[in-house]
């Protein structure tokens, strides 16, 4: 048989096939080419997705000229827990809110019984004894460490101590700023962080003056803080998807309290790690600075309609903490990035629709000042840091709902289109998001609850609470070949 015959061998018995015969060699050659093409296309799609998920450089947070740092006394939580601020310094804020909203409400009086006011109702899904106990338990480590006040912006709590007496006498030589940044990120990962970025200390976004609620006095960066910070290490800790999905039930307080404990634990570990290497460091949770602003500047995410930092792959389902240090990271600082998230928020209003007290803006575009109800009343916007380009929420209404609900609320987090379980198809949607036109953004935001995700309202979504309470089923072993940490637990 010569070579020509070999190349024209019938692929099948000609008697059983009326179609023209093709050469086996030629077929396999082309099939191999096609297979290679499929693999190259797959590889290209993967590379494009990875590039998209890296985001592109953005100009970061825009502020007006002469923008001033925020006075911590104007933070709703700080104001509410401080008897002096609420009752003596700014009593008119209580009166104004109660008058405009036509209800009996006092920020300080009402917070005294927070999370202990209403008795559990064992007939009501999400509000029974177990749900209440879970919330209390989730906060317990911080209470035991006498550090829960950091959640209300109290600086210098035991876990976030300003004490620098344990700074090692010898400064560790990192070799380079990039290695220093990578080492700190590695330690953060070890301690439980899901994201870690590093940005320069930016006076615009710190609280100045700070306020010591326990001793009722102002604290100043130049006078009271123990060193001059150069950098801010911003750390995100994950929150459980299934637990957050139970919002606004008492069950969801589990993810909140646990998130705060993680924040305190990780940030104080990183601060101690840095001090052990001979540099100054102070950990912070909600206190000392605006966490969302620093997270955006550190390139961890974008500011969303719900005023939270939305991180790719996690959305707003994270807690943010910071570590202030005097390490200079030189060329290793992160930069603000965009993934088209804020653009998406212009077409999506799911968080605003899901907000029980309607505290979130419905405006199409972000602006430099609040536009919500009563925003034009003199003094009513005392809690907003005016001059930042963002969507302004009325945090007073949000806080008022917490008091009525007798626990905090995660509806804007749970209903966010970017809050998804940790599976490839959600990452895929995230990756293609920047390239999608506006009408597709709108469709994606509508598809999110339609497909069964999000969909929060004033009451817990039926079945979500029970889904959470079943999420630990089968935890003695894992047959899924994947550790779904911080995501849907059922597999």
């Amino acid at each position: 048989m010569n070579m020509q015959d070999k190349n024209t061998l019938p692929i099948q018995n000609p008697d059983e096939d009326d179609l023209p015969n093709i050469s086996r060699r030629s077929f396999f050659k082309r099939a191999a080419l096609a297979g290679t093409g499929v693999m190259v296309a797959g590889g290209a799609a993967l590379a494009a997705s990875k590039a998209s998920l890296s985001g592109s450089r953005s100009k970061g947070i825009e502020t007006i000229e002469n923008f001033k740092p925020k006075d911590q006394r104007d933070v709703v939580l700080c104001y509410a827990v401080s008897p002096k601020l609420s009752q003596e310094v700014y009593p008119e804020r209580n009166e104004q809110y109660a008058r405009l909203h036509n209800k009996e409400f006092h920020f300080n009086y009402d917070i005294q019984t927070f999370e202990h006011k209403l008795p559990p109702d064992n007939t009501r899904e999400g509000y029974d004894q177990a749900d209440r106990a879970l919330g209390h338990a989730s906060w317990f480590p911080l209470i035991a460490a006498k550090s829960r006040a950091q959640a209300f912006t109290q600086p210098n709590t035991p876990l976030h101590s300003w004490d620098q007496s344990d700074v090692d006498a010898e400064k560790y030589e990192f070799g380079s700023a990039k290695r220093a940044a990578t080492m700190i990120r590695s330690a953060a990962r070890l301690f439980g962080a899901v994201r870690c970025g590093i940005t320069r200390f930016d006076k615009r976004f710190v609280y100045d003056p700070m306020y010591d609620i326990i001793h009722e006095r102002e604290l100043y960066w130049d006078k009271d803080f123990p060193f001059e910070p150069k950098s801010v290490i911003v750390i995100m800790t994950p929150m459980d998807y299934d637990n957050v999905a139970t919002s606004p039930s008492w069950t969801a307080e589990g993810a909140t309290g646990n998130g705060y404990c993680d924040m305190s634990k990780i940030s104080c570990q990183i601060a101690k790690f840095i001090r052990g290497m001979g540099y100054n460091a102070v950990a912070a949770g909600n206190e000392m600075a605006n966490s969302v602003a620093f997270a955006i500047q550190a390139g961890l995410g974008e500011g969303g309609r719900n005023s939270l930092c939305l991180a790719p792959g996690l959305g707003p389902r994270v807690r943010i903490c910071k570590v202030f240090t005097n390490i200079d990271f030189e060329d290793a600082y992160d930069y603000p990035r965009t993934w088209g998230i804020a653009d998406f928020c212009e077409s999506c209003r799911k968080c605003a629709e899901a907000c029980p007290p309607q505290a979130i803006s419905y405006d199409e575009k972000p602006g430099f000042e609040p536009t919500y109800e009563f925003a034009d009343e003199p003094g009513y916007t005392w809690n907003n840091h005016i001059g930042i380009k963002k969507w302004y929420s009325d945090a007073k209404k949000c806080f008022n709902f917490w008091i009525e609900n007798d626990t905090s609320c995660l509806n804007c987090m749970a209903s966010c289109t970017f809050n998804e379980p940790d599976y490839w198809h959600h990452w895929f949607v995230m990756a293609i998001n920047p390239a999608m036109p506006r009408f597709i953004h709108y469709w994606m935001s509508e598809a999110h609850p339609l497909f069964g995700y999000g969909g929060q309202s004033g009451k817990p979504v039926p079945g979500k609470v029970e889904r959470f309470w079943k999420s630990g089923k089968g935890m003695n072993t894992n047959k899924s070949m994947k550790n779904n940490i911080g995501t849907a637990g059922i597999s």
């Binding site: 009326d18 179609l19 023209p20 093709i22 030629s26 077929f27 082309r30 099939a31 096609a34 297979g35 093409g37 499929v38 379980p421 599976y423 490839w424 198809h425 598809a447 339609l450 497909f451 069964g452 995700y453 889904r467 899924s480 070949m481 994947k482 995501t487 849907a488 059922i490 597999s491």
Partner: protein, 95 residues
């Protein structure tokens, strides 16, 4: 489960690629026939992958709607392409 899903999708993809090669060798298709077949196939496979992963993560509604919205149009494209472009091509090749 996820590993099995991706393995099956790989086998289906490779078989489909070989089928298309065979089709192109025996039939002289119009220039848009192959892109339509590829588009239909990608949509069908994407819908199956979406549906499978949604089931694994515990969201059956997402699974059903994913298959409906992605695999549905894919099947439609494949069926129409087969009926109007592929089958007549095979018929002509027989003659």
């Amino acid at each position: 489960m996820e590993a099995l899903q991706w393995f099956c999708l790989g086998v289906i993809s490779m078989m489909a690629a070989m089928g298309m090669v065979y089709f192109q060798m025996v039939v002289k298709p119009k220039w848009y026939t192959l892109p339509l077949l590829i588009l239909g196939l990608v949509l069908v496979l994407f819908g199956i992958a979406w549906g499978g992963s949604s089931l694994i993560e515990g969201y059956p509604r997402s699974s059903a709607l994913g298959i409906l919205f992605f695999s549905g149009p894919g099947l439609l494209i494949l069926a129409l392409t087969w009926r109007h472009l592929v089958a007549p091509g095979f018929k002509n090749a027989e003659n």
